[in-house]
């Protein structure tokens, strides 16, 4: 089943008096439980693509379908709601709230919805990422890798269908990166699709396939799968 679909998506920005095309008529499909890495040079449109899939931004043209629902024309409020329901985010800078414990950070997204997720679920997720003994620790008591694992647990608290990660290993050493990628790739077992934007070649090793963006277009060199292409 398809988890994410970008259909003929173009994204343009105003930059001063110039119009910059960040994504140019992109078509991407990601299946349920699939791990896709997105690579490309800086400014190639990787993060823009992630923001569109994450419903943080709107395309200039084309359609964005997430979790089987066309989200292109949704209102700001509805997109935010949808984001909380079906998408999990893991960022390079973790963005844990320093005044909340690991467990509270994991449960933070539930403050914005009516879900009755109890602390047992947060503890279970922290246990799954190997932090069962750190639930009451504050972020300043955790290492970079531990913080990123808390962020992974947080991204899963609302049982998302898609996990989006932006340079998840960007701030981590080699060993920790391997561990984090292991955790991320494990979430596929529960049917969660993973899309990872990265410069890190190691991510590609864990991914089912890799999409390369160059100047806002999908690169031909990586269009080795039928699911990805410049034309629908």
């Amino acid at each position: 089943m398809t988890a994410v679909e970008l259909i003929g998506v173009t994204k343009e920005y105003e930059s001063g008096d110039r119009r910059v095309t960040a994504l140019d008529d992109i078509n991407v499909t990601v299946d349920e439980g699939e791990f896709v890495s997105v690579i490309g040079p800086s400014g190639s449109g990787k993060s823009t693509m992630l923001n569109l899939i994450g419903l943080l931004d709107r395309p200039t043209s084309g359609r964005v379908v997430v979790g089987g629902v066309d989200a292109t024309d949704m209102s700001e409020s509805r997109r935010t709601e949808k984001r909380g329901e079906v998408i999990g985010f893991v960022f390079q800078d973790f963005y844990l709230l320093p005044n909340l414990t690991a467990e509270e950070n994991v449960r933070m997204p539930t403050a914005f919805n009516k879900s009755r997720v109890d602390s047992g679920r947060a503890r279970e997720l922290l246990g799954r990422v190997g932090l069962g003994d750190r639930v009451d620790h504050y972020p300043n008591e955790l290492s970079g890798g531990q913080k990123q694992r808390v962020a992974i647990a947080r991204s899963l608290i609302n049982s998302p269908e898609v996990l989006l990660t932006d340079e998840p290993t960007g701030n981590l050493d080699l060993d920790t990166s391997e561990r984090i990628l292991g955790e991320i790739s494990k979430v596929r077992e529960t049917g969660v699709s993973v899309i990872a934007v990265t410069h890190d070649p190691m991510v590609e090793e864990y991914a089912d396939r890799t999409v390369e963006l160059v100047d806002g277009r999908l690169s031909d060199s990586r269009s080795d799968t039928a699911r990805v292409g410049g034309e629908p």
Partner: protein, 377 residues
């Protein structure tokens, strides 16, 4: 099981993150609330004290001959007209003279008041004032003290020798149509020359009653000609009240300035906090937090700062009010006047309101930050 994180919980935790900064913001509000409440209460205490001192004269109307039209006294017929026009309001037609009084070899200079109805103007602290005054004399407290007089003693005066029937209550105020302290009140026949009276004093039961009586005199006695001058002491009280309102307003304005400064400090604290937490707020938005949720968190923080600061401000003011009561001669009725509680409540409310107003812009600015930009930077 730990409770689910709430917006209130997150807001309060945010404030404890930089306790010193939050503490300074609270201190600003506390000082502002203290300034408004303390200055408001101070003005109110002054007004209450002044009103209680001058309050009794507020209900008296003094009718005197209109000198500008050539009248030097109020004839008996006009006194009758005044009494008819103001039936129900106790009145006393008074003759006045200065002179000497003596007893047991001591002499004092006094003011003689001749009236048939001293009870309308004077009150007795010893003895009693007869309803119809025909014999005896009542003396003021200072005269009684100087001449060592008590009820039953005799006093020798230029207008006759009298037995003392009453000692008058001392005046609490300088503003009065008669001065009871140096008075020797005698039956009007003692001073009577048949030429009319020097003044008629009407004692209304309230400011409103006095005002009606004054109007009645103007409409009847002065209907054709301005024979008498009608002076309402309540008008003096009104002017004094106006002055105290102005003073209170001025004092509160001073306090308000400090509260505005405190509001700006809260605005600054909240803006710094919002800028520092830009990424975190972006993540909140990314994980499903609506703009309204972000606004609520920031406003809850502002309200919490305002409430804590205002509670301290009210506590400080309460200590100052207690000190005012214990360390100064100000009476309990002035210190614990309802106005005191009004100013405490108002200052608390204004403190919280200023904090909320100061939180609106930071909240709006945080909620409208594009999460994409917030997370990227």
């Amino acid at each position: 099981m730990n409770p689910k994180p709430t917006l209130v919980g997150m807001a309060v935790r945010n404030l404890t993150r930089s306790r010193f900064r939050s503490g300074l913001a609270c201190a600003g509000i506390a000082i502002g609330v203290f300034a408004i409440a303390a200055l408001g209460i101070f003005g109110n205490v002054l007004a209450v004290e002044a009103t209680s001192t001058i309050g009794e004269i507020g209900s008296e109307v003094v009718v005197t001959p209109n000198g500008e039209e050539g009248y030097t006294s109020i004839p008996e017929t006009v006194v009758d007209e005044i009494e008819r026009a103001t039936s129900g309001t106790p009145s006393a037609a008074i003759l006045t003279a200065s002179g000497l009084a003596a007893s047991r070899g001591e002499t004092a200079s006094v003011t003689f008041y001749g009236t048939e109805n001293p009870g309308a103007v004077f009150e007795a602290s010893e003895g009693s004032l007869p309803r119809v005054f025909r014999t005896g004399a009542a003396v003021g407290s200072e005269v009684a003290e100087r001449l060592s007089l008590r009820v039953g003693d005799r006093i020798e005066t230029e207008v006759g020798s009298y037995r003392i029937v009453a000692v008058l209550q001392g005046s609490e105020t300088q503003i009065s149509p008669v001065s009871p302290d140096e008075a020797v009140v005698v039956p009007e026949t003692a001073l009577g020359t048949g030429g009319g009276y020097d003044q008629v004093v009407l004692s209304g039961e309230s400011g409103g009653g006095a005002s009606e009586a004054a109007d009645a005199v103007r409409e009847t006695v002065n209907a054709r000609e301005n024979r008498v001058t009608v002076f309402e002491l309540s008008s003096v009280v009104e002017e004094i009240d106006d002055f105290f309102s102005l003073l209170s307003g001025f004092l509160i304005s001073l306090g308000a300035i400090s509260l505005i400064v405190a509001g700006v400090s809260i605005l600054n604290v909240m803006m710094m906090s919002v800028v520092e937490r830009r990424g975190e707020i972006g993540v909140m938005r990314a994980v499903g937090g609506q703009r309204g949720d972000v606004v609520r968190i920031i406003l809850i923080e502002a309200v919490a700062l305002g409430v804590v600061g205002s509670v301290f401000g009210v506590a400080l003011t309460s200590i100052a009010v207690a000190a005012l009561y214990y360390l100064t001669p100000v009476g309990a009725s002035a210190v614990f006047d309802p106005g005191t509680f009004f100013y405490l409540g108002t200052a608390f409310g204004v403190g919280v309101a200023v904090s909320v107003l100061s939180g609106i812009y930071p909240a709006w600015s945080a909620a409208n930050e594009d999460p994409v930009d917030a997370i990227r930077d």
